[in-house]
């Protein structure tokens, strides 16, 4: 069974540019989560999809971040325009259930904004 995949693995962009991160969850997992980890800090929840619907987007930092999950399959997270503080590792996870269900994480996308 294929695991959660994320693309790209690394991205280096300049302040003000746009970047789109992609996550492909495990097939059949309705729940998809986006997280961000800034160096030395905790993993911070960004948002949670159930199928194509945003169940909880309370962790999204501001309106420069836009997440979509078309058709309830893969998801994208767009940052536009990127700021220096957006640098970090963005993780995607999928789960067959919400809340305490085991989450399966992708390898993450390391975003560096210069």
């Amino acid at each position: 069974e294929a695991g959660v995949t994320q693309f790209p693995s690394h991205s280096v962009i300049e302040k003000g540019q746009t970047v789109t991160l992609r996550c492909d969850p495990i097939s059949g997992h309705d729940n998809l989560y986006w997280y961000r980890r800034v160096m030395g800090k905790e993993i911070k929840f960004l948002l949670h999809f159930v199928k194509e619907s945003k169940q909880d987007e309370s962790g999204m930092p501001n309106n420069r971040f836009l997440a979509e999950r078309t058709g309830g399959t893969y998801s994208t997270l767009k940052v536009q325009p990127a700021e220096l503080e957006d640098s970090g590792v963005y993780f995607c996870a999928s789960s067959p259930g919400r809340g305490p269900y085991e989450q399966y994480f992708g390898p993450g996308t390391r975003l560096t904004v210069t």
Binding site: V4, Y33, Y35, G40, K41, E42, I43, K44, F45, H48, Q55, D56, F91, A93, R98, G99, P100, E102, Q103, Y104, F105, G106, P107, G108
Partner: protein, 112 residues
Amino acid sequence: LAKTTQPISMDSYEGQEVNITCSHNNIATNDYITWYQQFPSQGPRFIIQGYKTKVTNEVASLFIPADRKSSTLSLPRVSLSDTAVYYCLVAIRMDSNYQLIWGAGTKLIIKP
């Protein structure tokens, strides 16, 4: 507002038992505590989960005291390959959804 606190780092030696404690105030009776392990350049990986007393699986045990203000991940007889970052996660039930609160992670270094 719930918060999880873990030690930043720990050292131990091969063959020893390692206990990592996570403090989490303001969690309810049925709120779950989950531990994840993360190796460099990988995403976190589920280790163990519970919400009361003790849970044991093939890799770890999780102890949750009655007051539920903390929980302890216990790794028996660690090896060098257990060197990783360990995260505590609390899932707090809120209406029909859950609030996910992650700790900052404990960097565990196992020495020969």
